[in-house]
Structure formats: C-alpha cells, structure tokens
C-alpha cells in the first residue's frame, strides 16, 4: 500500500482506477481519461494533487537563499502573491526538480514534485545551512486543482466571502493565503482555474461541495494529456539531473540578469551557452495515424537516430498524436519518429499545442 491522500476514499466512491504514482495511491481515471480531459477543456474538472510537496521558506535570508537555490530570480516577484516557475539545478546545470514559488508575507511558498520529495528536501536543507532562514514542510495541506473555462465561476460558489475576496483579486499566475487556505490561480492544464491548498481535514467536505457545484473529478491520466497539450514539462520524462534547462525548453526560466546574482548551476549554464547548446526541445505533431510515445527514437534524416521523444500521447483536443522531443539543434521542419520499427514523418512545431481550449501552434 502506498501513501494515501485525504481524498482516497472519495476517489474510490467515484469509481477511480487507482495506480501507484511516486509512492502514492492515486486515481489514474474515473472511467474515461478522454472524457475527463475534454471536461477540463470545455467546462471544469478537478484533480487531487495533495501528493505534491509544499515547503515554506521564511526568515531574514529567505530571499537570498532562493536567489541562490534556483535558476529563476525571485526578485521578479515584486509583490506578494506573484508566482514564478523555475528549475532547481545541480552544479552541472542538471535539473534536480522543477517547482513553483509564490511570494508570501512573510517569505515564500515553494511547491515541488512528490516523486522527488526526499532528494529535494535533502538538497534544499543542505543549501539552507549557509543561510539564516527556515524551511517548513506543510504535509498537513491537501491540494485540489480546479481547472477549465468554468472552473473559477463554479469554485466561487463554494467559497466563503473571505475566500471569494482573495480569489477574485488574483491575476493569472498569482496565489495568496486566506486563513489556513492558500488559493493560487495556477495549474498544469493550459486552462484558467485555481490550485487550492487547504488543511487535510477540510479536503473531503470541499471536494464534495465542488462536486455538488458541478465539477467532476479528473485523474492523473487526463492531467498528463492536458499538460502535454499545454506544452508543460513533466519532471523525470522531459528533464532530469542529466539534462540542462537549455535542452528542456526551460531557457525562459534561466535568469542570467542581473549578472552579479550567483545561483547553483550558473557557471555550467553560462559555459553551455557559450559553447553552443547541442540539442533543442521541440514539439512534434503526427499528421498521420498512430501515437508517438516516450523513448521512441527520433531522426533528422530518417536514417540515423539522433534524438528522442521525451513525452508523447494522443491529443484528445486535436485528435492526433503530439509529442515533446529532444533533437539536434539544427532540426528543420520535419523529423522522423521510429514507431514500432518504421520511421514516420512528424512536423516540428513551437509549443504549446493548446491554450484555453484552442489549438495554438502553426
């Protein structure tokens, strides 16, 4: 038996198919992954993401610590509530994990992946030794992500007036506390919505209230196809400790300015950039039948395998297969994917594939 979130029994009651996910017993779907995917694109769906790891960073040097710990710069968070996506890198510039930081008063709230929890906490703790600050994990928090074009309106109906006031004031990619709750206008689907952190003891009542408000549960299967359509990386698939953010489509999260800010991995990233980054992270679209899958080989000339699919799936929104791939930097408009022993042409596109329910690549 794996770890269970406070919503485990609620998942069983909703006929969830449970699978192991990073040591947690989580719902992969509640009947049909595609229906749940479409629900999020067209209306609203909700995910139990209580397995995610929440760590608060407080103390006099919380800011200095985060500016050294991660590749993006928390000084971009000019007001409380603003959030930032970043990689946490090792000295070689490899990605230990990707995370979100929200600026809070006091300090910051960091959300990291569940499968990497132990190594993340160990690394964060080791780096923290040099700073006057405190790391506080918040394992008592459950987290529910409500996503979709109707997610905000439907969620508002179950919030109390104080929570509504906080929720209403949030711009996209902002999050603020409200009592023991924390409401973020963030997500992993390419749709608008909230990620709500709340005390575990309240999770079932809120989940039930959200269902009563017309929001159906969606599983990790739909979460994966939604994030792929949205062009969002999955740690462990699309990047890991051996992969530089330059080669994982995360260049936009590397804040090299100001030049005087030192952060872990900076020297390696600068050296890579100066030498020329050999590989590029691209989106692929298969305009013929079939489904691209992670680990399939990719070839620029249809003869030699020189790249790899990192994530691939069938896109329910686009009704064709899409993928993320790492390929030589001189890639053109077409690559060839080794699908079951046969090279099949796929088109190279700029991600994301889908935003707010619509196809966006050219």
């Amino acid at each position: 038996m794996g770890n269970r979130t406070p919503l485990y029994d609620a998942h069983l009651a909703a006929d969830a198919k449970i699978v192991d996910f990073g040591g947690w017993d989580m719902p992969i779907h509640y009947g049909s992954q595609i229906k749940e995917h479409n629900l999020v694109r067209e209306d609203a769906g909700m995910f139990d993401v209580s397995h995610m790891t929440v760590v608060d960073v407080t103390g006099p040097q919380a800011r200095d610590y985060l500016r050294y710990l991660i590749a993006n710069d928390v000084d971009k968070l000019t007001v409380d509530g603003k959030a930032l996506y970043s990689g946490m890198l090792n000295e070689q510039g490899g990605v230990i994990d990707d995370l979100i930081v929200y600026r809070m008063d006091p300090g910051y709230r960091v959300v990291v992946n569940c499968a990497t929890r132990e190594k993340d906490l160990a690394w964060m703790g080791k780096v923290a030794e040099k700073f006057d600050m405190t790391l506080t994990e918040q394992p008592q928090l459950a987290m529910i992500a409500v996503q979709g074009p109707n997610a905000i309106a439907k969620t508002m109906t179950v919030l109390n007036p104080a929570q509504q006031a906080v929720a209403k004031g949030l711009a996209v990619f902002q999050g603020l506390p409200c009592g023991e709750w924390f409401i973020g206008r963030t997500g992993y689907t390419g749709e608008d919505g909230f990620e709500i952190m709340l005390p575990a003891g309240e999770a079932v009542a809120v989940w039930d209230a959200l269902r009563a408000a017309g929001i159906e549960p969606a599983g990790l299967g739909a979460r994966d196809t939604l994030r792929l359509e949205a062009g969002m990386n999955l740690y462990g698939n699309d990047m890991d400790e051996t992969i530089s953010p330059w080669e994982a489509g995360m260049g936009w999260t590397i804040a090299l300015n100001p030049a005087e800010r030192d952060f872990i991995g900076r020297k390696a990233l600068e050296a890579q950039k100066a030498a020329g980054v050999a590989r590029k992270f691209v989106g692929l679209v298969l305009e013929t039948r079939g489904v691209m899958r992670g680990h399939q080989a990719v070839s620029l000339d249809g003869v030699n395998a020189d790249g790899e699919i990192t994530s691939g799936t069938f896109s329910p929104t686009l009704q064709l297969s899409i993928a993320m791939a790492r390929v030589p930097a001189n890639v053109g408009d077409t690559v060839y994917v080794d699908m079951r022993g046969k090279y099949v042409a796929a088109r190279v596109v700029k991600m994301p594939f889908v935003r707010n329910g619509q196809k966006v690549y050219q």
Binding site: H29, S32, Q33, I34, G221, T225, R289, G290, V291, R293, T313, F314, P316, R340
Partner: protein, 127 residues
C-alpha cells in the same frame, strides 16, 4: 473480475474467438483487455484476403496509454474486417464482445479450436 462470456473461447493474449459454425471464427479483444488499455484512439486492421498463422501479430490497438498488438488466435484467411472501428475506435471500450469485433478468419485447421481457452481457463489467466 470483468465480464467473460461462457459461449466464447479465448487466448492468453486477451483475444476472444467465436465459432460461427460455418468454418469461420470472429475475433475481438476482451473486456479485461480494453480495461487495461484505457481509451482506444486508433485501430489498425489486417487486409481482407491475408493468410495468417496462429500467433501472428495482425492488428494494432492504440490507446491513450499504449500500443498493443492483436494476434491471430488461429490460422487461416482473413475474410472480413470491422471497418467501423477505424472511424469509431472508442467502440472497443464500449462493446468489446459485440459490435467491436475486429476480424473474421476462415479456419485452415479447425483442430486449432481445441487448443483455445475456455471462459474459466481464461478467467484464471487474468488473475
């Protein structure tokens, strides 16, 4: 345990076989197989007229999760395919033992039917 009709025969690779009594059999995939696959998004069928041997990979099912080969459970000639599955692959999830049959084989060796699994034997395979 998922539904396993007693009037069909099975193979361990999760195809079902219905003896039509006229020298042909109809083949599909089981409820258990579609449940394991999840939402089916593409089906690739064999050519009518193709000669197949028991155990040959003759069709492909792609779900959101994975691609799976479908095997000929007996030897013979493909005499019909269910083209409706090409346009409506989700039928495999909805009605695997009925409308979503895959293909029909004209048996070249009827004795092969004796080697197939009964419903009970297949149920044991799924455990």
């Amino acid at each position: 345990m998922s539904n396993i009709p007693a009037n069909l025969q099975y193979v361990a690779s999760h195809e079902w076989i219905r003896n039509e009594g006229d020298g042909t059999v109809t083949v599909g995939i089981t409820e258990f197989a579609q449940d394991q696959l999840g939402d089916v998004v593409f089906v690739e069928l064999p050519e009518v007229g193709a000669t197949v041997s028991a155990g040959d990979s003759v069709a492909v099912v792609e779900s959101v999760k994975a691609a799976s080969d479908i095997y000929a459970p007996v030897s013979g000639e493909i005499v019909a395919i269910n083209e409706a599955l090409v346009d409506a692959p989700e039928g495999v999830n909805a009605d695997p033992f009925g409308a979503a049959w895959f293909f029909k084989i004209k048996l070249s060796n009827a004795a092969e039917l004796d080697g197939l699994l009964s419903a009970d034997a297949y149920a044991a395979e799924c455990e």
